[in-house]
Symmetry: C2
Subunit: 518 residues, 2 copies
């Protein structure tokens, strides 16, 4: 056995058994080792942004890290945008990045670059293994770091010679420690309880694991008993919602709406969330969105056990474990029947027909902002969104989620502009026959930027601006793009057509794409 | 006027008048400024790897930098692989990377990242502008650095508030200095001449600007008069070749071939080239490819005036300015007429029919390794190849080259695996109606990796390895992919079919794609 074998063995011993990969020459010994370990499921992405985005989607749903396999600095660079999203989502992930042999780096061959430098901005932890013998321990450390609550992006740099160097047969794998998240303090719980008892306007701002079912149950009891408002951060790793689950309002992305939503808050209780800040700065608008004089209380930080903290808070408030929870809203829309297709119609029809236990991957940007409102009354589902603002995660995220949950339907709401960044994910969906229904919201522009142009005072964009904001001339044809990668697809521009295509897409198993021209 | 206006003015005053762009919200004031400057040609890429690769292709052909416009750390991250190639090519480039407003960074909004950290590994120069008033000077410095021979990647980080802050009307642009490259020394010229006069085996290893016509004329005179061998590095920014130009042999990529080519060299004269090193390390194979005991002489480094150095060397050797040059080879192939299409047939047919002044963008990887041999006798053309080993540059490179040279045919030899990394470039070719003929060499595998697997001793790859090296199940359909982005395309798998498609593609103007299934 060689170093690469021992690395694989340690990953498998720690239950990391899926590897999203885009390998190159320097990783060939690792690929050969993977070939000797059929228990490891290797999933090829034709571009590294697919690999890292899929590893994110996988871990959000599997609640454990996948490995990625990337090729030197440039391969890691290609995966960086979705690593940024994963870092912001606090998704557990173990990146294995091949590099030149230790002794070869000094010669500055063409593919040489500062791999640590590329890794560091988008990783919580970076380490370069220097000998084959150290690989097991380093890999176990990477897994341990990745799994530490709420999750971390760990990047291990693998020089080619550490992979190919022989080790004694039966070199044992190393097990990573499993550490439970810390618990919040009585003081924090009492402070939150005092805020709620004040009788003033209170918002519980939930983030991270506070949006999973057990934590939401506790939050829902508190909200029902006390009247506090439940709100989530704008960008969340995974929200368990729909059915009888506790509904949570999402803080709007648009800054004026967000400020308006928060303007009356007197006590902001943060539960795995951070004090809300503007996604971008704008001249004359605030960076911090909550009123400057509101009382901010941290019930628990993202690193702590959030379900436990909310249950403790409910206890502190004297709310019984079987007290009723905040009720989900009734469907508050009319189902459109016919006519020209609109973004709203797409959102409503998906929300209306969403199957039980669907996983919704949502990179709908402007056209899907109403989706969470319509889908609050949908069947129980998981809702995964863009966390770090680096567009191009929707299709990869769906790919990874489908690998994690082969028995659940994955429905992706994908804006056309951002979908183009990582469209190669469709090929992986076809290759792995993943049960992914993709809906492309084809408005054929960077609509969000059109809005932003107005905000900077440009009412009538000229040629240069239009050519940077419009996706016309030529327009993208997503049915061709999908078929080019082996995914069946239809294009529709009417409500009837979309309803039919949606029904068809939900019925079949395997990848299918609907281009919804709106 | 605001900071963004002054930045545009300075770029234009320094003759940077093309901006390859993929903007986002934080760059909206810059986009609005570009909208007020119709002299700036803005070219949208639907993915940042397209943007940076196109800026590389543009500068290689225009001999001046383009600007790029990128969106924060993740947008820059997406462009990093082709920045790596540009850095290795020493291509002049000015990246404008938007970032949050200076005062907003502290709040760590979701898109916040260490932009300098992302930029540094793939840039020669990185600077963050801190005030609107400093933008002109900083932009001029960026252009000056980028233009400094042999060329540099300069990255300027543009906080949103420096762009939007008002400046006095008529704030003047700042002109960047133009500095001529340094000249080599008499000592270096004498050392090179002594090596050549030794009568022993001498190779002139040419790189960078030594592969442009004027330098090649001098090298061709030296080779003809003295019998020294002319060789180029494996990866070159731009080679002017074909017609009556001096032929130069390319150092092979495959390590055993490269070592064998160099084994008898007694004197290695480096002209803008570095001592050859293996692209990758392999167990038991050397990192340095030339014989350890050969005499290495640096005639001139990449930063120096290489044409002048070679002319000086010819003078020193007493070779007249009008002495005859090394003659180009006669066509040494038979033109295939029919049958199943092969990589060799594609290479020969393209070499045979290449129009005068074509620009060949070559990311053909395994299937095009013979192309430079066949095309040595083609019509005069420029040949641009992958310089840094970060695959996914072919289509963007062609896009930029076509923007720089609208009157020349751009022919791209593109391997299918690497083409998938940045296929979005086809849309820009359609949008700008660029005269780009793309030939996809569709072998439906990462063939280079199959070769590498054999080298690590895996003769019969198993399921995991095959699924990471093969692009089958499903196979990619490039005609659909191209049509999805507005580019007409045909697929052929016979010699006759390819010959016909090639003729058709060369005849028309505008983008066209041939999927050559081999």
């Amino acid at each position: 056995m060689n170093g690469a074998d021992s690395l694989c063995d340690t990953l498998l011993a720690n239950d990391v058994d899926v590897c999203f990969a885009n390998p190159g020459t320097s990783e060939m010994h690792f690929v050969a080792a993977l070939d000797r370990k059929p228990r490891m499921r290797c999933v090829l992405g034709l571009f590294e942004g697919v690999v890292t985005g899929a590893a994110d989607g996988y871990a959000r749903m599997a609640d454990k890290p996948a490995a990625t396999l990337l090729h030197l600095g440039p391969g890691l660079g290609n995966g960086l945008a979705n690593l940024h999203n994963a870092k912001r989502a606090r998704t557990p992930m173990v990146n294995i990045v091949g590099d030149h042999a230790t002794y070869h780096v000094q010669y500055d061959a063409p593919l040489t670059s500062d791999v640590e430098g590329v890794a560091r901005p988008m990783s919580h932890w970076v380490k370069r293994t220097l000998t084959a013998g150290a690989l097991s321990a380093d890999a176990a450390e990477a897994v341990g770091v990745a799994r530490q609550a709420p999750g971390n992006v760990a990047t291990l740099i693998l020089p080619a010679d550490t992979a190919w160097t022989e080790l004694p047969e039966n070199t044992p794998p190393v097990l990573a420690p499993r550490t439970a998240p810390a618990q919040t303090s009585a003081q924090a719980v009492r402070a939150a309880a005092a805020a709620i008892r004040s009788g003033e306007n209170v918002t519980l701002m939930l983030g991270g694991a506070a949006l999973r079912e057990r934590a939401l149950n506790a939050a829902g009891r508190i909200a029902r008993a006390t009247g506090v408002r439940l709100m989530s951060e704008t960008s969340n790793r995974r929200v368990e919602r729909g059915g009888s689950r506790t509904p949570v309002e999402r803080l709007p992305y648009v800054i004026d709406l967000a400020v308006s939503k928060l303007k009356d808050v007197r006590h902001l209780v943060l539960v795995g969330a951070r004090a809300p800040v503007g996604f971008f700065a704008y001249p004359g608008k605030p960076s911090l969105l909550a009123p400057a004089d509101c009382n901010q209380v941290v019930l628990a930080s993202a690193e702590q056990d959030l379900a436990h903290a909310l249950e403790w808070l409910a206890d502190e408030l004297g709310i019984a474990a079987d007290a009723p929870r905040l009720a989900p809203p009734a469907a508050a829309y009319e189902v459109p029947q016919s006519g020209r297709l609109t973004g709203a119609a797409v959102n409503i029809l998906i929300a209306h027909t969403l199957p039980e236990q669907a996983i919704v991957c949502d990179e709908s940007i402007t056209q899907g902002r109403e989706f969470p409102i319509y889908s609050a009354s949908s069947a129980p589902h998981d809702w995964l969104v863009l966390t770090g603002g680096a567009i191009g995660i929707g299709l990869p995220l769906a790919t990874g989620a489908a690998v994690a949950c082969p028995d659940r339907k994955v429905v992706t709401l994908q804006a056309d502009g951002s979908g183009m960044y990582t469209l190669q994910a469709l090929w992986t969906q076809a290759r792995e026959n993943l049960d992914c229904l993709t809906v492309i919201l084809a408005n054929r522009s960077y609509a969000t930027l059109h809005g932003e142009m107005k905000k900077v005072g440009v009412e009538e964009p000229g040629r240069n601006a239009r050519r940077m904001l419009d996706l016309q001339e030529p327009h993208l044809d997503w049915t061709h793009l999908a078929r080019g990668m082996g995914v069946e697809a239809v294009s529709v521009d009417t409500v009837e057509g979309f309803a039919r295509a949606l029904q068809e897409g939900l019925k079949r198993r395997g990848p299918f794409l609907i281009e919804a021209v709106i």
